[in-house]
């Protein structure tokens, strides 16, 4: 089998690439979905409200103290105008532009983390109350973002499954076609093997190995594609998440994920090989 494969290195590489792409797309989406879910879960664990004050308003510390005493509030984080400016400068390269401004353009803010048991209606009611407080310019309920992330997560999951089924069938067909070509190339040898007493299992076995070979190789290729993709997306993702005060910590792309990718590739490869062998070798029974 190794000799047969090495004689057709270009074909093997092509099959690995095709299977790799077919596996990488749904696997990438599922990885995205898993991370979005985690992000949503982390956010969901601390639903909150951001309160932004008018420039120069001095009411933020007092409101922070009052909110901190309320039972439905877990914690309140006060960010003064100066602190907001420092954080902003840490994340941007706009030192020169800000130096030209006479006043600090960033408002003071409160990050109100509420109890997880708080319902959406209670959260909305609290936001309405906060909007009426002195010096408050804007109130943002983070639930909106949570809903968007959850919706995106659900979409990614559904898309992952749809693409998973489509590309899974594609992988089976790629494997089946390749194994079928391998069978055709060795048909004379197989006929002779049958005539000298080879069992069906003996005839079938090398082609099932072919299926595993192409499937696992494709899975490995998919893992490489995904890691390259993550490498390419790391910088923009870090910037995006940094703007939401989140740090980049992609989870899920670990050894278990890679092993699952290899196992899935191998299983789909074998399924294709079984299909091809059943179709083609059946006719060997009667020459």
């Amino acid at each position: 089998m190794l000799q047969f494969t090495s004689n057709r290195a270009a074909t093997s590489l092509l099959v690995w690439t095709l299977v790799g792409i077919a596996l990488a797309l749904p696997a990438g989406l599922m990885l995205t979905q898993a991370n979005l879910s985690r992000l949503a879960a982390d956010w969901g664990g601390r639903p909150g409200i951001s309160v932004y004050f008018e420039l120069g308003a001095k009411d933020a510390p007092l409101l922070a103290m009052r909110l901190d005493q309320q039972p439905e509030v877990e914690s309140v984080v006060l960010t003064s105008q100066d602190e907001a400016l420092r954080e902003f400068l840490q994340h941007t390269n706009l030192h020169d532009a800000l130096a030209d401004l006479e006043t600090n353009p960033l408002p003071a803010s409160l990050r109100v983390n509420v109890a997880a048991s708080l319902t959406a209606d209670q959260l909305d009611a609290m936001a309405v109350r906060l909007r009426k407080e002195n010096g408050v310019a804007e109130v943002m309920v983070e639930r909106t973002w949570l809903e968007r992330i959850n919706a995106a997560s659900r979409l990614a999951q559904r898309l992952g499954w749809v693409l998973g089924v489509l590309f899974g069938v594609g992988t089976v067909l790629i494997s089946a076609t390749t194994v079928r070509l391998a069978i055709e190339a060795q048909l004379d040898e197989l006929k002779v093997m049958k005539l000298v007493g080879a069992s069906n299992a003996q005839i079938r076995r090398p082609f099932l190995y072919f299926g595993v070979f192409y499937g696992v190789g494709g899975g490995l290729f998919a893992a490489v594609l995904l890691s390259l993709g993550l490498l390419a997306l790391e910088t923009p993702l870090r910037g995006l998440l940094g703007s939401f005060n989140e740090t980049l910590e992609l989870r899920g792309f670990d050894i278990l994920f890679v092993l699952a990718l290899l196992a899935t590739g191998g299983a789909l490869g074998v399924a294709g090989a079984v299909l091809a062998v059943r179709q083609r070798l059946f006719r060997l029974e009667v020459l």
Binding site: E189, K191, V192, K194, L195, V196, G197, S199, Q202, V286
Partner: protein
């Protein structure tokens, strides 16, 4: 395994061509029989039926009282491991060496490599090709290729040896050598059936003859020993 019986065997191909018509004959265990007839007489079809490459349209083929037409795929490969077959076009594997071609039936049967080496070299010695074991079939002459085919057929010491026109491409001297090989093999107990249209060769061997013509048995009686053929 060795006695072969055909009972009212008919064989019609999907094209409608009737290759065998009501063929009944008995070939005793340990016999050597020639199968003769013109081209298209049904000789190859009869051998194919014995190899279970195809199944009869009607009738029974018994090998040691087992109806081989009804063998399942699992039994079929055990049956074939006890058969040796020599083909007119050799059916050698072009990408494998002489050694590997001859070793094929033994490896299929799961024999260890040490025994494979011993048995293959013994078979190649008998056909005079030991020095050519590492060559590819295309590097051999037609006669040598035929002898490789014979070595492969006998290497597993089958109980039945079938040969389809084994001397079709060979000169008379080589043909006699090959027939001598079949005879040696027959002397150690194998049932040998040789399909040939070479009448002079058949007559020189003084062995029982089964003659077919357009699928009909002309010579060869079903209920008697193979040596007592009707004219």
């Amino acid at each position: 395994m060795g006695q072969i019986e055909f009972h009212n065997v008919y064989m019609r191909y999907p094209s409608g061509f009737e290759a065998l018509k009501d063929v009944s004959l008995v070939l005793e265990e340990g016999s050597m029989t020639f199968l003769t007839g013109h081209s298209g007489a049904g000789k190859t079809t009869l051998l194919k039926l014995l190899l279970c490459v195809t199944r009869p349209t009607q009738g029974q083929i018994l090998v040691n009282d087992v109806n081989i037409s009804q063998l399942g795929s699992r039994q079929l490969h055990y049956y074939r491991q006890n058969l040796g077959a020599v083909f007119q076009d050799h059916n050698l594997l072009g990408a494998r060496t002489v050694f590997d071609n001859v070793a094929l039936p033994l490896r299929v049967a799961g024999m260890g490599e040490r025994d494979v080496g011993r048995r293959v070299r013994a078979a190649l010695t008998r056909v005079g090709l030991l020095q050519r074991e590492s060559l590819l079939p295309m590097q051999l002459s037609i006669g040598e290729q035929q002898r490789v085919g014979i070595a492969r057929a006998v290497v597993s010491r089958p109980k039945i040896l079938l040969a389809d026109e084994p001397t079709g491409n060979l000169d008379p001297e080589l043909s006699r050598d090959i027939m001598a090989l079949f005879q040696q093999f027959n002397h150690v107990g194998a049932t040998v059936i040789v399909a040939s249209h070479d009448r002079s060769l058949i007559e020189s061997m003084d062995k029982p003859v089964v003659e077919l013509d357009h699928g009909v048995l002309l010579r060869g009686r079903p209920d008697g020993p193979p040596s007592s053929y009707d004219a």
